[in-house]
């Protein structure tokens, strides 16, 4: 045993070294701990948005189309972190829930919010089954619902749609639409909501302030979403297209881009630059 013991210190040093690097890496990666992180993940033709509040509360909105979600997610999450505080499923289309069965297998999710409409596809049934078998708390989104992520830093999510029963309309227009607010900054995540849902929101909100800073364009930048009126009303500083490179739908459509051009709204696309990371300190945005 004596000779064997001489290896023990080396092993110990290695482990301590590992721990040290790990700690420093997590400290350095979070230079300003009061930053809110919002990442539009590169998941190909689909949607997945990761939000991390300064108090480490983590939210995922939609789950991409396949297991690429897990690769992109692990790049923006802390090392070996396999838990999420909240998962929001905007609606049940494949390109929004495709990666969720794999996510639910590998990650602990505390709570799920969706629009309450179930779908008969295999993938949707599998998502429901996994939510049930892991006894994850589940809630149906409704307008005026507010989820506080970080009270200390004034960060919360507001559900602004559905504002009515959406079980009979087109599944895209049943998308949960949420607004993320951090002090002066705000984001609007629209799922696949089309011009119809946009109109319903504007009608319902009336004179309420819909002005935000970052708008995720509905339905991957399709022409059937993002009306001129909607873009004017939300007047984003930046628009985001979440789409795949050379996707078969031709997203984002040129009509949508023309509308952005007319209003001089710059946009970023996950198809071109991969994961888009935006940081907010409550005053200004960094990207």
């Amino acid at each position: 045993m004596k000779k064997y013991k001489k290896y023990l210190p080396y092993l110990l040093i290695l482990v301590i070294l590992g721990v040290t690097i790990f700690v420093w890496q997590s400290v350095l990666s979070n230079k300003n701990p009061r930053m809110l992180k919002v990442a539009f993940l590169d998941v190909g033709q689909g949607d997945a948005i990761y939000i991390e509040a300064p108090n480490k509360k983590q939210v995922l909105i939609d789950g991409g189309k396949d297991s690429k979600l897990l690769y992109s997610l692990s790049k923006v999450m802390p090392f070996a972190d396999r838990s999420l505080d909240l998962l929001i499923i905007t609606h049940r289309d494949m390109d929004h829930i495709g990666g969720l069965p794999m996510l639910l297998d590998g990650y602990r999710v505390e709570k799920v919010i969706d629009n309450g409409i179930k779908d008969e596809t295999e993938i949707s049934k599998s998502v429901d089954e996994k939510i049930k078998s892991r006894s994850i708390e589940s809630e149906v989104a409704q307008k005026d619902m507010r989820v506080f992520l970080d009270k200390e830093n004034d960060i919360y999510l507001d559900v602004i749609y559905p504002n009515r029963d959406v079980s009979d309309i087109d599944s895209n227009d049943g998308s949960v639409v949420v607004k993320l607010v951090h002090g002066e900054n705000s984001f609007l995540f629209t799922g696949d909501a089309s011009i119809y849902a946009e109109s319903l929101i504007m009608w319902e909100e009336g004179e309420n302030d819909l002005d935000i800073d970052v708008l995720k364009l509905g339905h991957h930048g399709a022409r059937s979403s993002s009306s001129l009126l909607w873009l004017e009303k939300t007047s984003p500083e930046l628009a985001i297209v979440s789409a795949g490179k050379n996707n078969s739908y031709g997203h984002p459509h040129k009509e949508t881009l023309e509308r952005l051009e007319n209003l001089k709204i710059p946009f970023l696309s996950t198809a071109e630059i991969g994961t888009i990371l935006i940081k907010s300190d409550g005053q200004k945005l960094e990207y």
Binding site: M1, K3, Y4, Y7, L14, V15, L17, G18, V19, I21, F22, D66, S67, K68, L70, Y71, S74, K75, F79, A80, R82, P101, M102, D105, G106, E122, I123, K125, S126, V127
Partner: protein, 430 residues
Amino acid sequence: MSKKEIILIIFLAIIAGVRYLFFIPQAPNFDYLVGENIGFVGQIVENPDERLNSQQLKVKINNQKIYLLVSTSKATEYKYGDKIYAEGKLSKPENFITAQGKEFNYIKYLANQDIYFLLKYPKIEIITRDNGNSVYAFLYKIKNSFIKSINKVIDLPESSLAGGLVLGLKGGFDEEMRNNLIETGTIHIVALSGYNVSIVAEGVMKAFKQVFSQNISIVLGMVTILLFVILTGAEATAVRAGIMATIMLVGRMTGRKYLAGRGLVIAALLMITYDPRIVTDMSFQLSFIATAGVLFLPTKILKYFSFLPVRFGVREMVVSTVSATISVLPIVLYSTGVLSIVSILVNLLILLFIPYAMLFVFIAGALGLISKAIAIPFGFIAFIILHYILSAINIFGSFRFSSFTIQSFPLIIVILLYAGILWWVFIKKK
């Protein structure tokens, strides 16, 4: 060769012939059903083969010796031993052109596993679970919890490399990663090869040798190999890798290369006798030839590498790498057509770290079964090493000049090359 050996070989050849003609199941005559909708009850007979976005189930039709390969989405989790009802359109496998531009004989590849028909994305219902052999069910259970444990404490994509290294899983790689592995000549690190396992077992033996006698440490090395085989689910390729690793280990540790060489030939003959189709199996060819190469080539090429330091096993590693590369090159050129320019360089850059990567993946995976918190430091060390390996492969794989494809490489040249190597190793005197 002595008279006895010749008689033994002839005897085994006769058995192989008899087995091939009478015991290996022939393709079932279901061609008339191809393109039709069929429904059947069957049982999953192997651990599902998980790919990036799909899984493949080997299903045995009830009461018949007919196997189907069923591909389905990953939405539902299937397990070994599930009895299922599947309904869909029957199809036949087709050969395809790889990203490197060479035809891959998929029909033969599947036929070697008794699979002649496919069912793509059928409707599946699970009837009952846990119908399989309880020993296998148990082994697969260990394997699957181990995979989950690795995934918990190592981030993607490094964790998919980890799965490849220690369990031979290739499902986690996307197309780009797979091509980079092929084009840098490093795909063997994620194949279930005897070489990897022998490196780890050798490390274990060297450690135990400090404490126990040579014989006991050899036994412990073999126990390591056995554990590995069990962990990978004791599938045929894993058993083969285990046998090859044992032979390589005995050869290297005892220095009795010719004894090990004889063991290798006998093992190969027994495998061929058991299932003669294995001769055409590329992974069998590669592991046999690489093992032989690592056993016999070093004595011939060592003199060219005397300038390298012996410390940290650098010289040995270089010599083994070059030996393995030379010995498999003809067959790689013949079957994949890929001539990697950077192969030896990249292999040298990464091979030295692979035993450590494997070691820490093993520790992290095993500890992760108990507690995630204590596994994380080990997982992080594994992650750093794996990250380095992946970066080396991706950087060199992305170069245009890293490899090129040779469209036709005739079999006769392969045979001539091997004849040349054999002559060089065994007949040519200094």
